[in-house]
Symmetry: C2
Subunit: 234 residues, 2 copies
DNA sequence: TCACATTTGTCCGTATGTATC
DNA sequence: AGATACATACGGACAAATGTG
């Protein structure tokens, strides 16, 4: 049987238009910070109706390439919130597929532990400084009896950056979005556990500064125990 | 300074409507295979205009929750193409962030190697059967002088399934989408390398059946060399 | 503070294309 | 082949938001 050539699906103008604009972004002709003309103007340029443009905007918005503001000087603005969108999609997937906290935690730490190899090899002074500041801020929050949750999440994103492999940045960003979403639905957050987690972060950072892979991985194992408990609401 | 409370952004009806429908899907009130009423009917039910519904549909489409068909008995259909959408978004990210094939390959094999631990532990007969069939199909294609590329990609997705951790399924699905996209833009595919890759897959499968972690990981290292070469267009 | 201009958000009516029966 | 049902697309209108003078 011959290959079936599908009609490339897109007979839909709004799809072609959103793809066109995407291409412009990929080629750097449109950069974050640039403004698109108002809907009516875009519609005029593409010679389509405003409705068609609006549907194209919905797609670009959903991809994280534009935000839209009303009013004078408003209109579509090119932005880079694509990792944000990825996080949202991950959250959707986890809801839809009903993935357990245990699965998430297992895979997360698996991945972070192999990532740690690269961090130990490649973290530079700027990375270490960022991590140090992160831990300091977390400890201050604890002193003030506030939850260091935001900082604890950020710690792992900073680690991903220090791996110098952007794929890890993407994957960890997505996973951490799910972790955050999960936590936001927990009734109580055990403060003592949060304190312990920050303490482990401090120790892990120390091990990284010493370029001590073995110790950092072993500390990660201990961290895993705490995080797993938190994820189970204990 | 007091905390700034943003107006939760969504005063936009199409957003609220798409969220409403999403919630129905998450709660299982709408399942893949179910059909939504036509636009006019949905518009009537929500008491909004058709344009508003159309924009909500664009969002749901982009999330991978619905497809839309024209014609009699057409309309919005609940589907589960969310992993597909994730792959597309990953491809966008890789284009946008201009991530190198080397980064992708490094992280990919890091992750697959730790995943392999779980595969060795947890793969059941059905998994092994699926993998066996996959390798058989790939070898047949090679015999017929066809590229086994599709099967080679599928091999890794099957491995992810055999890890019994759905997080790996998601991550590998996303990564493989990027790999496929990358390959589709390569001019020539070195047939000899494809043959070697399939051969390694066969050996890896054998090692998994023997529950031989060490051997399977070491074979993965060799596979990495071949894949890296392909990714560099060599 | 108060208009005013700009731009998105939303509505209605209508016409056209497309797939199914 | 023709009728039906649905999405796609157009044009015009008004409301709501937002920055400017």
């Amino acid at each position: 049987m011959m290959a079936q050539f599908k009609p490339y699906k897109s007979k839909r103008s709004f799809e072609e238009i959103s793809n066109e604009i995407k291409t412009h972004i990929f080629q750097g002709l449109l950069k974050p910070g640039d403004k698109l003309p108002p809907e009516t103007e875009i519609a005029h340029q593409f010679n389509v109706s405003r409705q068609t443009i609006r549907e194209a905007m919905r797609i670009l918005e959903q991809c994280g390439f534009i935000t839209i503001q009303q009013g004078v000087n408003g209109g579509p603005l090119i932005v880079d919130t694509i990792l944000n969108r990825l996080g949202k999609l991950f959250i959707d997937i986890f809801h839809f597929k009903k993935i357990s906290p245990n699965e998430l935690t297992e895979a997360r730490f698996d991945i972070e532990k192999v990532m740690l190899h690269h961090v130990i090899d490649r973290a530079d002074d700027s990375d270490l400084e960022g991590l140090t500041k992160n831990v300091r801020r977390a400890k201050e929050k604890i002193k003030n009896n506030k939850s260091p949750f935001g900082e604890n999440i950020a710690f792992h994103k900073l680690l991903a950056g220090a791996s110098k492999n952007y794929v890890y940045v993407i994957v960890i960003e997505a996973i951490m979005a799910v972790v955050s979403d999960f936590h936001s639905k927990l009734e109580k957050v055990n403060f003592e556990r949060s304190r312990k987690i920050t303490k482990y972060h401090e120790d892990i950072l120390e091990a990284i500064i010493e370029r001590n892979l073995e110790r950092s991985v072993s500390l990660f194992e201990k961290l895993l125990v705490e995080v797993r408990a938190v994820m189970l609401g204990q």
